[in-house]
Symmetry: C2
DNA sequence: TTTCCTTTTGAAACCCGTTTCAAGATGTTT
DNA sequence: AAACATCTTGAAACGGGTTTCAAAAGGAAA
């Protein structure tokens, strides 16, 4: 691979001049510029990004740390991040952690030592609080809060309101026995959604019924079985996310339970699959793309000094799994 | 951020010694080693990966270039790649190209100038042939071939056989009017699958019927409408992938057409959603994970000198959308 | 023609971890 | 005690762009 010094030799100028031609950082004599461009072309030179970022302390990269790269919520978010990053001349690199603290720590130190210009992270581990506070790289937490007022940004959608919306919708639709398939207690967004559901229940004098479930569809499957056993009179289910809603639907269907006639079902997130599945899934939409876009903008504009919170509003999308 | 020279000063040794302690590349006096470790701990030093990879010409990273990061086939593949890469002490960075040649070229030059240790690419653009041939970084094409015998590896699943399997299954199940929703002509894997379908049709004296469709579910939706208009007597559909199969199912369902009673449907890929959807999707499985794992192994073991082809076998997974 | 200002240019330092090389230290053999 | 082998260690060079700084060159004003 040709280096800038070889190009310089070919064009009979100094490396500095070549650098100036490449980056347009200073005026260069037209004749020399032509020679340099010719030399670059002939040698097939491409500037070495590593050397560049070593000096610049910037790699024009946004790092994304997520608990799963197969979960559509995160891929749709990452997709938006990547697209936006590209628009601003940045790349994206994804790290998958499976929610594992060690992997998260690794990912952070890896990304910072790669000179990424910003990190978007979705995590629930309180342990990371100190690390993130001492991290010089701009960081925004997305979807899940690590700790309010920790340095960095926090982008989320009003989960409490989302939980309320879902519960209210089912009650309005005549449900008397609503079960909330709540996410893990450790996940802030899941706790908030549950709280929204709970408050509506107490306000309306409806019994609280819930069951815990992580965000995977395998667990969605087994938890639905358990749910039906524990709450045989259930007529409305709020799922912790759309993937789980899909698996709940599968089990109900298998059991011959009709949706929405016997049980009404509402998901959460509005991933594109919610619209694509049959029947189409009623769900509480989060503006997934907008959240990703906002995260990138905050990072690039360096709006993460101190603590910056940005809250989006959820929206109920009524489709076919509720009346 | 502390540098190795600061650590050296703190520990009262030379930077070389610090480097040797970090990497265990040479014996270091126990007492000095202790001082160095103490200094590292106190200063919170982490080696700068950029400087490291500048010298080493390796970033311990595998680059992945895919046409979409929301398509489950690619995310499941990337997930396997990431997991395997991690096991070998490598990271993964994903580039999304939307099938755009310019973005693909950019991604390649970006990744090589980042000193990635290997590239996994899924592309159909013949234009890249020369670039890939001249690329010093090990490359493996996955799923789609760029050109046989081009330098690098090529990992795929026998698509011709997959097309045959799907067609044979439908014929055995009594289908008389089978429509192949074939993928884009530009995509080698799609061409091969179609060829498999076609050959079975001629062998069995069945009429060839097909319609083109890209791998997005939006097009899947509109193409199904067109399909039903053009082939009103259709009783079997082979989809170019599972996502399209899901959208085909949606349209059929909407029209009141029963699956599998009126029309039998077989997908392709066996993404995890195929199992999760209701009804469960009969599909031709590709060993997505194994393909990803193999790609990483080939790259890390530097088995890509010359041309290395590795073919997996497809497998019919009979579920609920066929009789 | 001299002086001053502006522009262009290359040498060298810089970013920071790694490695080579040779010197210094320690130990062993004869 | 001399000669030799082995280990430990730091100085310096390296990788490849970028930037600073000062010199050189060109142009304009006096």
């Amino acid at each position: 691979m040709a280096s800038i010094r070889e190009v310089a030799k070919l064009a009979n100028v100094s490396p500095s001049t070549v650098s100036r031609v490449i980056n347009g950082t200073a005026n260069v004599d037209e004749e020399k510029k032509r020679r340099v461009l010719k030399a670059i072309d002939e040698s097939g030179f491409t500037p070495n990004e590593v050397a560049r970022s070593l000096f610049k302390k910037s790699s024009k990269t946004i790092g994304v740390i997520v608990p799963s790269i197969t979960n559509p919520f995160f891929t749709e978010m990452s997709s938006a991040i990547e697209k936006t990053a590209n628009e601003y001349g940045y790349r994206m690199t994804i790290c998958n952690t499976s929610g594992n603290v060690e992997k998260e720590k690794n990912a952070i130190s890896m990304l910072t030592s790669m000179n990424v210009d910003g990190i978007v992270i979705t995590t629930s581990n309180q342990e990371l609080k100190k690390i993130l506070e001492n991290c010089e790289t701009p960081i925004v937490a997305i979807d899940r809060v690590i700790s309010k007022n920790t340095a960095g940004g926090y982008i989320h959608c009003d989960n409490y309101e989302g939980g309320r919306i879902a519960a209210q919708h089912l009650i309005q639709n005549g449900c008397k026995s609503i079960v909330c398939v709540r996410g893990l207690e450790s996940i802030s967004s899941a706790r908030e959604r549950y709280q929204g559901y709970l408050d509506v229940c107490t306000e309306q004098g409806i019994r609280e019924q819930s069951i815990r479930c992580d965000y995977s569809f395998t667990e969605g499957l087994t938890m639905t079985e358990k749910l039906l056993e524990e709450f045989p009179d259930v007529d409305g289910i709020i799922a912790c996310n759309d993937m789980v809603a899909i698996s709940i639907y599968k089990v109900l269907c298998r059991r011959g339970i009709r949706v929405p006639e016997d049980i009404q079902l509402v998901g959460y997130d509005n991933i594109s699959l919610a619209h694509l599945m049959t029947p189409e899934l009623t769900t509480v939409a989060q503006p997934i793309e907008k959240m990703g876009v906002k995260a990138v903008k905050m990072l690039i504009r360096k709006e993460t000094k101190g603590y910056k919170e940005y809250i989006f509003s959820p929206e109920l999308i009524i489709r076919e799994t509720t009346k």
